[in-house]
């Protein structure tokens, strides 16, 4: 029987807590949009102006970007780059690690500055690190005690692939 490498989950309450933190950050920094992407490239949450682009593809590319830069850091003798910035003429992207588990991606434009985004991000990163540490810890405990989310759904899974 195969087992998954790792599984993690979050509830509506987690989602609400993460969204509240991000909304406060967007209001303080005047950035346009904030996304949370997991290290495997999956989009976890989007808050603020809804992106006009393909957010799923965007999440995948940001995770790949961050992972590639992690390796670049190691090659030059650093353990990691905690944050990255891509500057455009109008639009820019700020990426920051959250406890080696997920990535905070912030889209901002000329209504604010990189310095302001960095400054306000500092507090939110610490807050999100605590949130995600608790969330992953709870997931680990729950997995040990409870059956999988699709427990007993073997027939349903078989039917899906008939």
């Amino acid at each position: 029987m195969a087992v998954s490498a790792t599984i993690w989950s979050f509830t509506e309450d987690d989602f609400a807590e993460i969204s509240r933190s991000l909304e406060r950050f967007l209001s303080d920094s005047n950035a346009r949009c904030a996304l949370i992407v997991d290290r495997a490239g999956q989009l976890v949450a989007t808050v603020g102006e809804q992106p006009r682009f393909d957010a799923v593809a965007f999440a995948t590319l940001t995770a790949a970007d961050f992972s590639a830069n992690d390796q670049l850091a190691r090659l030059i003798g650093e353990t990691e780059f905690r944050s990255l910035v891509h500057r455009g003429e109008q639009e820019s992207i700020f990426l920051a690690d959250i406890g080696r588990r997920v990535i905070l991606v912030v889209l901002f434009d000329i209504r604010t500055t990189e310095g302001m985004v960095r400054l306000k991000a500092k507090g939110i990163i610490e807050e999100l690190e605590r949130t995600f540490a608790a969330l992953f810890e709870r997931g680990r405990d729950a997995r040990a005690k409870t059956p999988g989310i699709l427990a007993g759904a073997d027939d349903e899974i078989d039917r899906l692939f008939q």
Binding site: A2, S4, I7, A40, F161
Partner: protein, 225 residues
Amino acid sequence: MSMINYASREINCKIVYYGPGLGGKTTNLEHIYGKVSPDSRGKLISLATETERTLFFDFLPVDLGTIRGFKTRFHLYTVPGQVYYNASRKLILKGVDGVVFVGDSQVERMEANQESMQNLYDNMAEYGYDLTKIPFVVQYNKRDLPNAPTLSELQSALNPGWEIVDTSRQRSVPNPYQQGEKLVEQLPTGEWIERAPYFEGVAINGDGVFDTLRAVSKLVLKTLS
């Protein structure tokens, strides 16, 4: 790393197509992209060189249906097959839930196949993942070519089986995909072994592409049951 989102009622899983260069990994994704309704898939993203060789990865998100009220979303990735892109290949394996090894059936690519398979085991081990324990499917692509060896030769070279030492698992398991064959069996030497499910493919025509995808996706979902 399967992600279960109770807020949007989605299960997200990551599947990686691995294998030697020019083996047909990208062709698998292109076929899936062409056949799946646009409502059930996203854009196919290719980070490729100017000569259309995969440089970093290809990516295709597909929805495979709903179970227990949860949408099942699969993120399909390929890796660059060329030997010198190992750093990129390793990055893509991060958080993987299921692996498809796309082997090239041409006899002159056997060495490249074996090298890639060994590289897959090694890279998985570096993340602490055990390929014998996570959903894993082999596709023998390019079966239509005249220089393709027999299936048993390919199986011996690439999917000979791994030993099962846990006595509770030492019982025959039929191969649901190949009539008369077994996934778990006892060898004449007394040793119990398990092999990955395998499929024959001609990805350029679509043969075997969906059989492979269905098999690995089903194995991934069963890890959540």
